[in-house]
């Protein structure tokens, strides 16, 4: 079969299912740990389950264009239900399982949902409440029957019940299922994914079969994923990344999806499976590294010393060894010993013993942490995308992995930076439209049909994309150059002793910064140096601390000076604030994001002083709210320090 024939024949996921059920009949397609044992379904078995369920849905009137609402954690039946709905020309609508009734009601109404599958009693209860609020779900199917014994049976069915009626139906119309699949085409809507909008109501993103297959095939080729690979299913099913890794890519590459027993057993289950392909977030990586390092602090002396020695060795030569560079024989030998003593067991404990590729995305990742994982042999790569892109746009290629970039565009995907500095793209995998929202669809594209990501970014000299900030947060300096506060602040926050940073520069001629030190990290640093301090305020004003922060800022400045468009954003002056920025004072949101407007208002005088070269000390008084609700004033005499800035270094090579 030639490639073009294949494209035409296998243009929907149900068709891919049939294809996999034939060519990989006995290859595992999905696993689930239940009753302490991994249960496995091969592609042929999964196809049978899906067929029975789809036929059952059909007997209850589910047909082309109908939506199947899916709510629950990652269970094989939930994934099968997706494919069953698609087989009949229907559209799965997976939803966040922790969504509250009001959120569900909006989506159920907006998507005109009539059929729903819920994992268990908890989710069924929520759907019943949604109906009480006026929605009209006509049928609820549940996976786990526990506690549902005495529910009104009129429109609530068990998964088995639907399958049983499907099997009966199949005896009468044996080819119905296959006929329905044959009716599908690549242009059909594959899935409706609601994005959790930070402002206003969520938007329903429509992705087509052809679009998702396009994206999946590009990634399968890039990472050489085959039926021998496996992945853990643990991300929310409503998130495009889970839909992609555990459904669309799994069907294209025919690899095995493994469902953990529950969220609490994830780490143990992952260790048992050792998935070959894994997706994780910088936040999880950070938490795991902190956990490892603090636990090693408590280990016996000899173990700790050995561990530290080998981790140190890995940080010097590990990355070079893994990227095939020239490393001396002795270093290789030591690394080999480290592999036996530290790196191998460590990877095994984290569930990475068989992991070939680990993807991460979502937030900026610190270079230290990135290198730590890569140096012990975890092949960490960054990717970038969004639901509307279906979902990935760029990824690190082997040999081109760096902590500060998100890689190069995938094959046949166009990504560029527009005149405002925004990342825009064109891709056959892109979404078709927002469901029932032509206004938002129109706004998401520019005049030439490129889709806007809302992210500010730039390409560096070797063609790798750097994501800087959300475009709405990016400002312009008075000399016209770009000012991306979060990008600079993140670079500083990667230093353990800096907790929070606010930079100023929009409509200014230079950049200045307000710093919060991390009391725990700086406190223990001070203890080790016998620097006595009485309070946060006292510690923050120590000249030693100032010098340490200054050093960090200078390092960041060197980093910024390497990039022409960012060289003007080097920090010229800074002050360490006498109090921690606090959500109680309205300076941070409850999720610890900086509220810039409030900070501009509260510290106006201080900010002006930062821009007045004649002032090097300033008396500041700030109202604060204490934990018990009392109000008070903290005052301090703050020093302002200058920082060295660096000349733009010319591009090399």
């Amino acid at each position: 079969m030639s490639d073009s024939d294949k494209q035409q024949d296998l243009d929907t996921f149900p068709k891919l299912l049939q294809h996999n059920a034939t060519r990989f009949a006995n290859v595992p397609s999905i696993r689930e740990k239940e009753y302490g044992i991994w249960q496995t379904w091969t592609w042929a078995e999964a196809a049978e389950e899906i067929k029975a369920f789809a036929n059952g849905l059909a007997t209850h009137g589910f047909g082309r264009g109908d939506k199947l609402f899916i709510i629950g954690s990652n269970r094989p039946r939930m994934y099968w239900a997706m494919c069953a709905a698609q087989s009949l020309g229907g559209i799965p609508v997976p939803t966040y399982q922790d969504a509250v009734v009001e959120e569900l009601t909006y989506v159920v109404d907006h998507a005109e949902v009539k059929y729903a599958i819920a994992e268990d009693q908890e989710q069924v209860d929520k759907l019943l409440q949604v109906n009480e609020l006026g929605a009209s779900i006509e049928m609820i199917i549940y996976d786990d029957s526990r506690g549902l014994g005495d529910y009104d049976a009129e429109y609530i069915f068990s998964f088995e019940n639907i399958q049983a009626s499907g099997v009966e139906f199949c005896n009468k119309s044996p080819t119905f299922f296959e006929d329905q699949i044959a009716l599908g085409s690549g242009d059909d809507v594959a899935v409706l994914l609601y994005t959790s909008g930070t402002t206003g109501q969520p938007k329903g993103v429509i992705l087509s079969h052809a679009g998702l297959i396009f994206g999946s095939e590009r990634v399968a080729t890039l990472e050489s994923l085959t039926e021998k690979d496996s992945v853990m299913a643990y991300l929310p099913m409503a998130w495009v990344v889970d839909h992609f890794l555990c459904y669309t890519l799994a069907y294209c590459a025919a690899y095995c999806v493994c469902c953990p027993e529950n969220q609490d057993t994830l780490l143990q289950d992952k260790k048992e499976i050792g998935p070959s392909f894994h997706f994780t977030s910088p936040r999880v990586l950070e938490a795991q590294r902190t956990d490892i390092l603090t636990r090693m602090e408590d280990a016996a002396g000899i173990k700790r010393k050995l561990f530290n020695y080998f981790i140190d060795h890995a940080s010097r030569v590990g990355i070079s060894i893994h990227s095939g560079e020239k490393v001396s024989l002795i270093d290789r030998l030591l690394y080999f010993l480290g592999e036996i003593y530290a790196y191998g067991p460590l990877r095994n404990n984290l569930g990475y013993s068989k992991t070939r590729i680990t993807w991460t995305a979502g937030e900026a990742i610190g270079p230290d942490m990135f290198d730590f994982y890569r140096s012990i042999g975890i092949n960490l790569k960054q990717v970038y995308g969004q639901t509307e892109a279906g979902p990935f746009l760029t990824a690190h290629q082997s040999g081109g992995v760096r902590s500060d970039t998100v890689g190069v565009p995938l094959a046949d995907v166009d990504v560029k930076i527009d005149e405002h500095g925004e990342v825009i793209f064109r891709s056959p995998g892109a979404f078709r439209e927002y469901y029932k929202d032509p206004e938002a669809t129109r706004k998401s594209k520019n005049a030439d049909g490129w889709i806007l990501t809302g992210d500010a970014g730039l390409f560096d000299h070797d063609g790798q994309l750097k994501i800087i900030d959300r475009i709405k947060d990016v400002g312009t300096m008075s000399n016209g150059s770009l000012f991306a506060p979060k990008f600079i602040e993140n670079k500083l926050k990667f230093f353990a002793h800096i907790l929070e940073v606010v930079t100023f520069g929009d409509q200014r001629d230079r950049v200045t910064a307000l710093i919060n030190i991390d009391l725990v990290a700086v406190g223990s640093w001070a203890e080790r140096r016998n620097i006595a301090y009485a309070s946060y305020q006292d510690l923050a004003s120590r000249p030693e601390v100032y010098s340490m922060v200054q050093e960090s800022i200078e390092q960041v400045n060197i980093d910024l000076s390497r990039d022409e468009s960012l060289a003007n954003s080097q920090i010229t002056r800074f002050v360490i604030l006498h109090k921690e920025l606090d959500a109680d004072d309205g300076e941070l949101t409850r999720t610890r994001k900086v509220r810039r407007r409030i900070i501009h208002e509260r510290y106006a005088e201080l900010i002006e002083a930062l821009y007045n070269p004649e002032i090097s000390r300033i008396q500041v008084e700030t109202d604060v709210v204490f934990e018990d609700g009392r109000k008070g004033i903290i005052s301090g005499n703050l020093k302002i320090r200058d920082v060295k800035i660096f000349q733009t270094t010319q591009k090399t090579g």
Binding site: E34, Y35, G147, D264
Partner: protein
């Protein structure tokens, strides 16, 4: 709360039971009965004789007077192991688990009476002993799933937080597949979230397995929420029994235990 499938059939009948330790009367001619499939709560102030009552039911104490009719058989004395073999299981006020053993092994001990093979085969772990072990392991895994404690399956029980230990203890009692489950303060020392979980499990056990449950509990909101009927003891005397709303309105109970607001 609805009556969870409780029938009018009497599973356990306590008649005129008196128990004294020397001069102290722990139970003073107490009578009540338990219907099959119900959740019955025994409440009362400290020293009212609640735990003694449970100990009498499962044969640990032998009352000086009175009879107990269980599954239609009237008896004066019974040993705890006989009670166990007739389908009575219990948990304790102070957790009585094997601290050094894993959750899985602890629950497995609850299957002891279900094992028929002898020590010889079990030690060799071949033939019938192996088949039996697998069958029992399956039953234990179903309980682990039921109680949602997969994550602590291999953890030593002594290291678990209190609320989880209580859950493991319930698991061990369930492993015996009891007809009558005696729970001695299953929610003592728990925070409100743990109490809510435990209440859910008790109701689920009652509904899914049809197990009759007698429980002692001090948290009145829990008692009123989950039990079908309540028996009130005070200084060894039976002062009332009835449905929760009746008990809440009973003057004698209010005076002895629930208390009144003095205006």
């Amino acid at each position: 709360m609805t009556i969870n499938g409780a029938s009018s059939e009497i599973l356990l009948k306590v008649e005129d039971v008196s128990l004294a330790f020397g001069g102290i009367k722990a139970l003073d001619s107490v009578s009540f009965d338990t219907r099959k499939g119900e959740i019955l709560a025994i409440i009362g102030p400290n020293g009212a004789g609640k735990s003694s009552m449970l100990n009498v039911i499962n044969g640990f104490y032998h009352p000086q007077q009175g009879t107990i009719t269980y599954k239609g058989q009237t008896r004066k004395q019974m040993r705890p192991y006989q009670a166990a073999s007739q389908g009575i299981a219990r948990t304790f006020q102070n957790i009585a688990l094997f601290k050094g053993m894993s959750t899985l092994d602890n629950i497995m001990t609850g299957r002891n009476l279900k094992m028929k093979t002898n020590l010889f085969w079990q030690a060799l772990y071949i033939g019938p002993a192996r088949a039996e072990e697998l069958k029992n392991r399956e039953a234990v895994e179903k309980i682990i799933d039921f109680l949602d404690i997969q994550a602590i399956r291999q953890k030593a029980v002594g290291k678990l937080p209190y609320g989880l230990q209580k859950r493991v203890e319930l698991g061990r009692a369930l492993a015996a597949e009891p007809d009558l489950l005696l729970l001695d303060e299953p929610m003592a020392g728990m925070n409100s979230e743990e109490k809510e979980d435990m209440s859910r499990f008790i109701i689920d056990v009652n509904m899914e397995y049809g197990t009759t449950i007698i429980l002692i509990e001090h948290d009145m909101s829990v008692v009123m929420d989950i039990s079908d009927r309540v028996v009130v003891l005070d200084y060894g005397r039976h002062i009332a029994d009835g449905e929760p709303h009746e008990i809440r309105a009973n003057k004698e109970v209010i005076d002895a235990y629930l208390g009144v607001s003095h205006e």
